[in-house]
Each structure stands twice: as C-alpha cells, then as structure tokens.
C-alpha cells in the first residue's frame, strides 16, 4: 500500500509536467487545428538558455524567469517565422511545417553549438525528501504538483474571465464564426502561441531542473509526452489535456513499478499499447470535444 501511494505521488509529479506540456499543445490545436510537433523545441531553446545562463554564473532564481521568457519568445518567433506563413493551410501542411520547425531548431543547435550533451547544475533541493507518514515524498514532486495546480487555476481564470480568454475559447469552438463576430485572428493566434509558450516555459523549468542537461534532440521526449497526453485527453480539450497528462504520468510510473522485472523494459511499449486500446474504444480520447469543423 505504501509503495502504491508512493507511486501515485511520483506519477502525479511526472504527470503534472506532462499536463502543462499537453495544455500548451491543446491551446494551439484549439485555434489552429495544428498538432504542434515543434512544441518540444521550446524546451530545447530554453535548455540552452539555461546552460548559457548557468555558465555565466546565474542562479536558478534568475534563470527560472529567463526560461519562461525565452519559451514565450521562442513560441511567438516560431509562429511568426513558420506558422503564420501557412495559416489557413490544410492540417497536413501544418503538421509537416511543425515537423520542419522541429528539425531546423535541432539542426541549428547541432551545427552551431555542439552535438555533445551540455550539462548544468540542478538546484540542490530537487532530490530532497520529507516524511509523510510512512512515505518519503520528494520536495520536487510537491512543488511541481503545487505549481501545476496554481497554473491550471490561473489558466482557467484567464480563459473564463478575460476578453482574451473569451476570444480564444470562441476561436477554438468555431474560428470562422469568431472572426465574423469581431475576434481578430492575428491577436488570438499569437495569444494562443504566447500562452502555449508560457505553459511550456513552466514545464521547461521543472523538466530542466530534473534533467540538468540539454542536447539538440532534447525536445523530442517532452514533445512526444505532450502530444500523446493531448491525444489521450481528447485533442482540443484543455481539461482533457490535463487529464491525459496525469494519466500518462501515472501509467508510466505504475507500469514501471508493477510490471515483472523480466518485462519491465517494455514499459514504454505497454504504455503505447494501452493508448492504442484507448483509441479503439474511445477514438475521441478521454474527453469528447464538440466544436464546429473548420472548412
């Protein structure tokens, strides 16, 4: 029982980061129907910014806001340089463009920085633990879960209580009708990318604190987790993205812990198998999204 509780806490910690990534994917998908495979590059760029900041002697206190700013700026830059050129194109073109951005960003760091992994110090408290009954809980997991909850609440307030949120939700429900009702497409799309970058920036902070390293292809893993979580939750659903992220994190930790040693190396494969089964029985994901089809 103790180990199960321990696993649940670990899974929620891991799943919280996935939820933040998935939420960023879902926000952009909602307004553009773009499944953004370049989302992980926000972590790559932020990671190199972290490496250089740390090399220059910056502390984590200074680096955390830098990561968030770099992530938002990168997200806006990617929208400006790449996605604004193909706005209104079919979904497949958008998908290919996002793959292109992913490969170009990786190649830039590979060619002009290094193929080697660059490391930087993790904050000292990342591996600290505290006792909670018979459990040993990582301070990191507690902070990640807490910050994720606050971020989700703030995002909900932003979407529910502001004009920008209303415009974003209207665009997600029916982009063309929203435009006819006076929603400015440029503003709402850039806003969506900025929000996506902000969420990715917060996720990046935790991802990089845990990893303590960056490499040109470091964005692949978080991109896969974010996209998968968004798909599992139900593409376009913000609530689903959060649920998908948490479900993915819990599944990974529980499976790695519960599978027999002889097959434990198949954990990732079993996760994908479960996702495939989910899509057989619920192709729409955990949450059903109802909105008008863009034509």
């Amino acid at each position: 029982m103790t180990e199960l509780l321990q696993n649940l806490i670990d899974g929620l910690g891991r799943g919280s980061i996935y939820a933040l990534l998935a939420l960023g994917v879902a926000v952009v998908f909602g307004v553009m129907h773009l499944l953004n495979f370049a989302h992980g590059e926000l972590i790559t760029v932020s990671g190199y910014a972290t490496f250089w900041a740390m090399a220059a002697g910056w502390s984590w206190y200074l680096t955390v806001p830098l990561i968030v700013v770099v992530s938002v700026a990168t997200s806006l830059a990617i929208e400006r340089v790449a996605f604004s050129r193909v706005r209104g194109a079919d979904d497949f073109t958008l998908l290919l463009t996002s793959f292109g951005v992913h490969f170009v960003v990786s190649a830039i760091f590979l060619l002009y920085v290094s193929a080697s992994v660059k490391t930087f110090p993790r904050p000292g408290w990342v591996t600290n633990t505290y006792a909670l009954g018979s459990l040993r809980v990582e301070v990191f997991d507690t902070v990640v879960i807490g910050v994720t909850v606050v971020t989700l609440l703030a995002t909900t307030l932003l979407l529910q209580r502001t004009m920008f949120g209303l415009a974003l939700r209207a665009a997600a429900a029916d982009f063309d009708t929203a435009r006819l009702m006076g929603v400015r497409s440029n503003s709402v799309i850039r806003g969506a990318f900025a929000l996506s970058g902000l969420l990715a920036g917060i996720a990046s902070v935790f991802w990089l604190m845990r990893a303590g390293s960056i490499s040109p292809s470091a964005g692949i893993n978080p991109m896969l987790k974010g996209v998968l979580a968004a798909l599992v939750g139900g593409l376009g659903s913000l609530r689903g993205a959060v649920l998908g992220g948490l479900a993915l994190g819990l599944a990974e930790v529980l499976l790695r812990s519960r599978l027999p040693d002889s097959v434990a190396s198949l954990t990732e494969g079993v996760v994908f198998l479960l996702i495939a089964l989910l899509f057989i029985f619920r192709p729409q994901g955990i949450v059903t999204v109802t909105h008008a089809e863009r034509v």
Binding site: L110, S116, V117, T119, T127, E138, D141, S213, P216, V253
Partner: protein
Amino acid sequence: MDFSDVVGFVDIPGSNLVPYVAELINCTGGINGSPVEVRVAEVGDDAALAAQELLDWGAQFLIGPPFADFALPILQTTGGNVPLFVAASTEPTLADASINSYLVTFDDFAMAGAAAQWALDQGITRAIVFTEGEGIPYTGVNPDAFAAAFVAGGGEVVSTQTYVWAADTDFSAQVNEIAGISENNEVVFSAALAFQVTALRGQLEGQGLDGLTYIGTDAMDATGIQVEANNEGIAHTPHTSISAGDPIDTLLAGYEASRGEALASRGFMALYVDSLFLGIQGMLDCDCTEPADIGEAVKQISGFQGLSGEITYAGTNGIPPKAVPINQIVNGEDVLVATIGG
C-alpha cells in the same frame, strides 16, 4: 562519420582531429615520402552512399562511426574488401576480421567485466544493475555482462531496474523499489549517460541511500562526468585516461593552438588517431596500396603501440585485447585508479 547528435559528440571532433594528424604527418614528409590524404564523408541518412563516395575516391581504409545502424551499411558497401576501423565503438558484433571490420578498443564484455572486477576488488558483494533490456546493444549488453561477471566473481545482483537510456532523468519508481531492498552498500552499474547517473544518485541519496558506489561505462566519459555536479566518487571506464603531458594531451593541445578551439570527447580522440595509424601500419606491413591486401596485413598486427594503448589483431576476430582503465572522481579530479585486463 555521423554528424548527428547520435554519434556526433565523438565523430565530429574525431573527423576534425584525423585531418589535423594527417597534416602533421605530411609536414614531416609523409609516409615514406607519400602524403597522407584524408577525406571526411558524413553518413547523413545513407551510410552506404557515404561509404561508396569514399571508395570511389579511392580510400584504402575507412574509419567509421560506431553503432550498427551506421557501420553495417558501410560493411555491406565495402563487401569486406576494405578495412574498416569502427573507431569509437565497443559493440562486439561489429568486429569481424573475416570481413575486415575492427574495433579499436575493448568491447562491451571487457568493459563491463572490468567494472564488475573493480567493484569486487573494493569488497562490494551486492549490485544494483540498470538496463534497457536484456540483449539490447550497449544499453542492455553492458549490464548483462556486468551482472554475469559480478556473479561469477562471487557477488550477487540484488536488483535489476529498467530505464530509458539518454532520456530518463526521473527514477522515482526505481528508487522506491531499491529503497525497499538496499543495505546501502551496493554498487550501482549502468551504461547510462553522466547526467542520468547523477540524477539517479541524487534521488537515491534523497531516500537516505548515501553509501552506494557508482560505476558506469565509456558513456559517462562521453557525456562529461568530470564536470557534473555531485560526481565525487563516481567511477567509469574511459578509453584513454589522459594526464597532463601525455602524448594525446600534447596532441590535443596542439590542435587547440592550431585551430583555436578545443575538441570535445577528449577520452575518445586517441581511438581516431590510432585508427589512422593502424591503417597506415597495415600499408607499411604489406608494402601495398590495395585495400584487400592492407586488410590481410591489419589482421596480423601485433603489439601496435597506439595512443590509446597496445593493440593486437593477430589471433583475434577484430577486437583488440586491451586493458580497461578505471577512472574515478576523487577530490573533484578524474583520476586513474585501476587498470584491469589486457
């Protein structure tokens, strides 16, 4: 050479160093008056095409990237008729003297076996092994070999954990399991990258397991265990244990002075230089320029004094029986603490 970030961390600096060494040779009159010519081809997404480009150019031997994904298409292109030195690889299946394919360093079995021997020599009898899965090249073969050697030497593997190589940095699930069985005196072995090992160590220490010993493979050297935080005491198996003033240290310093930038993955660089000189040695031994004849001569090389140690192919299948250096971070310095085998 592969310039992607799969192998680029060694192949990019290696492909810079080899032409530099050829320049040095040519500055001193070349080999028996003939200049050494080096051409670098990037494998990109078609290693066979890159190999064909070099064969068309007239390459007499090849220095190739590690990992079967790259090396096997090259071997299919050479048809076994041109010597291939898989410079930075420890993959035993890539060595086959009958098709002129050679490792320049020890293989996974020697590397992980030496790590197990070192742990046993420290009086450690319990091991925790991290693997990607049984039989998986490098990430599974090394843990398999470590476990076999450790048990054969009288030790016990008390826990085998799985992880995703080069990706996982959150080991919560594994750490929880280890915390339940550890006596805080085990050796932890993996082929993981340096930042993964220090992440794992941090989480284990967070659970109060601060008495564990860590040893890993050449991947630790490749990914900078020397500059990682919380690296004190961590041991690893580099290809070359470099000290100030060593021939390889002098060569690398000369490169830096000449080119204005230092090379990464220093511990692997001697393997690229040795690959070049092994090919040249084959040509000198056979007094020939035909690749197939050079290959026959390379098979007979014995007691070659390379920058990375003594290399012998005679009587082997292409894996030189080299000694494995064991380095450890002691007082912040990466120092040679043992040499095993050879």
